[in-house]
Amino acid sequence: MSRVQIGLQDNDESRYIVAAIEEDNPTAIVHYEPALIRIENEGHLQINRESVSEQMGMDWDVQSIHVNLVTLTGNIDEDDDYFRIEWAN
């Protein structure tokens, strides 16, 4: 399985997104680099609107990921309720 990766700016908003990612993707590894949070996982990684909203205590729009997103790898599948990256190999 290839690893997928997502990078987010290290800031207050991302903190909640990362907490939601850790909750929904228990095997994900989180690296804290200068100004950047980089998260890796085998095969796929999913961010759920519900989990992030729960963490933030407010409704979170999946498309607002663009504001804090730095980089990613993998094929993207995005809908109103989730954002997913995945390699098929």
Binding site: P34, Q63, S64, D77
Partner: protein, 501 residues
């Protein structure tokens, strides 16, 4: 009755349906004249979809939010004399390279995407390219704004645009984008969106920007990550366009493979300067070029190419040579700039003893054996007041336009300079590598008239025969912007600002 709220997929479908139209009385081929000449076959544009499904309203909303955040930080940076918080003034020289080499390339990318955003026949791809065109314009604007603060305190920033069109090493990024922009729309998008953005720009905008943060440069890391948040979308466009082309027709596979082979190599050569910026120009070291290459290319790019195998796409052959060059690239590039530092628009220096130890640790197989003795000797000479500068002008590669300093790493002879040449229409052309030679031989007409800065100087087209004349032509303030950092006006100003004796 209350209108039903549309979900993202429906909104995007409506956007891409409503902005396109059938050509009922005009010839579609005349509307998209560049769609066929590259040999690419498209059977159904409607199969192309942006996985982000970004509609115009969402695009403007999130871009505005990014800009607001960015400019709040610029204000804070300027109001609080942020330049005083960088680790050392040597660091600022990396920013000079950024502004003169990379920012104008953002403008070239803006121009190229305006072209593809008009010429691609599918509405989804056109919208994505148009958004990217606007993004690239945002990137050069935000970069100029960020650097304008440094321009008040340091040399070498003010004439970046004039320099980009003339200075010898800046012809490297300029000719890279000229090559891409003078291709057809499909080659352009494979070159920039896929090979450059998807496979390579992470190396510039992620570890280098983390390095900027690590060195206390709040303005640069902020524009870097703000730009890179657009890049995440650009990378997606790159991957989608590749998959789309490969799914549309099997005849597209060899054409796309050839473009990937070419542009991965062209992009990698261009990143030589980034390798040097990471290893030699960040006073606080964060990640070596080699580590970044392993993480962002070998690991992430490896996964990507395994994913593309099902379409018959292979990892470009040049990856083997690149893997061998990773132990040498940054050292050879910095040495070249160090020895031609009298003709550059930024300062160079020999690494300190601690920095050399860090390089030994990060490059155990190469630094102590091949490069440490050179830098120690250079430091000794400088100490004696005999700072070494190369007297001549370097030979340039006809394709990548980089001085021919690379060595035979592929053959495990890192001490032998690599020279290749070929004949075309009775003339001999020179190259830094087999890959640059292959690119030339595939399309010689495209490269024979390359504006090679060294040739232009010798032909008398750059202000005169002396260095002082050429510097004037470049609008470089000789004695202020160039040469060693030690004893420079930047150093003096920094020491005065920081109260160092």
């Amino acid at each position: 009755m209350e209108a039903k709220k549309l979900n993202v997929k429906e909104k995007y479908r409506l956007l891409t349906r409503d902005l396109d139209w059938e050509f009922s009385y005009e010839d579609r081929k005349e509307a998209f004249p560049y769609e066929e000449f590259e040999g690419i076959k498209i059977t159904d544009w409607s199969k192309w979809e942006d996985p982000f499904r970004l509609t115009m309203d969402a695009y403007w909303k999130y871009q505005a939010e990014k800009e607001k955040k960015l400019y709040a930080i610029y204000d804070a940076f300027a109001q609080n004399n942020g330049h005083l918080n960088v680790s050392d003034a040597r660091y600022v020289n990396a920013l000079k390279i950024f502004l003169t080499a990379i920012s104008p390339a953002e403008y070239a990318a803006h121009n190229g995407f305006a072209f593809t955003g008009r010429q691609l026949g599918g509405i989804g791809a056109r919208i994505a390219a148009q958004m990217q065109s606007i993004d690239e314009l945002r990137h050069i604007q935000t970069q100029i704004h960020a650097m304008s603060h440094y321009n008040k305190h340091f040399e070498g920033f003010d004439e970046f645009s004039h320099m980009h069109d003339r200075v010898w090493y800046l012809s490297v990024p300029k000719s890279f984008f000229d090559d891409a922009r003078s291709s057809g729309p499909f080659e352009y998008i494979v070159a920039i969106s896929f090979a450059f953005e998807y496979v390579l720009t992470n190396l510039l905008f992620v570890p280098f920007m983390s390095g900027a943060a690590y060195n206390g440069d709040m303005a640069t890391v902020t524009f870097g990550f703000s730009a890179q948040s657009d890049e995440a979308r650009h990378m997606t466009l790159g991957l989608e366009i590749i998959k789309f082309l490969l799914e549309q027709h099997e005849d597209n596979v060899p054409i796309v493979q050839k473009w990937i082979d070419k542009w991965l190599w062209r992009g990698y050569r261009l990143l030589s300067v980034v390798a040097m910026m990471m290893d030699y120009m960040l006073p606080q070291k964060f990640m070596s070029w080699k580590e970044a290459w392993e993480l962002y290319f070998e690991d992430a790019g490896g996964a990507l190419f395994r994913d593309l195998e099902r379409y018959g796409i292979k990892m470009p052959a040049c990856a083997e040579l690149i893997a061998k060059e990773k132990d040498h690239l940054s050292h050879q590039t910095w040495w070249t700039f160090y020895t031609f530092g009298h003709a550059a628009a930024f300062h160079t220096w020999t690494p300190s003893a601690e920095e050399m130890d860090w390089l030994s640790e990060k490059y155990p197989d190469s630094f102590d054996k091949w490069y440490r003795p050179r830098f120690e000797m250079a430091a000794e000479l400088a100490e004696k007041g005999e700072r070494f500068y190369s007297e001549g002008l370097p030979q340039l590669c006809q394709t990548c336009q980089i001085p021919m300093f690379y060595t035979e790493c592929g053959d495990d002879r890192p001490d032998d300079t690599c020279y290749r040449s070929t004949h075309y229409q009775g003339e001999r052309f020179h190259f830094c590598s087999d890959h640059c030679k292959d690119i030339f031989e595939d399309e010689p007409e495209k490269y024979v008239h390359a504006w090679l800065p060294v040739h232009q100087i010798f032909q008398g087209n750059c202000g005169g025969a002396d260095l002082a004349d050429v510097m004037k032509y470049y609008k470089l303030n000789d004695g202020a912007v160039n040469a060693d950092y030690m004893g420079s006006s930047d150093e003096q100003r920094w020491k005065a600002l920081k109260g160092i004796a």
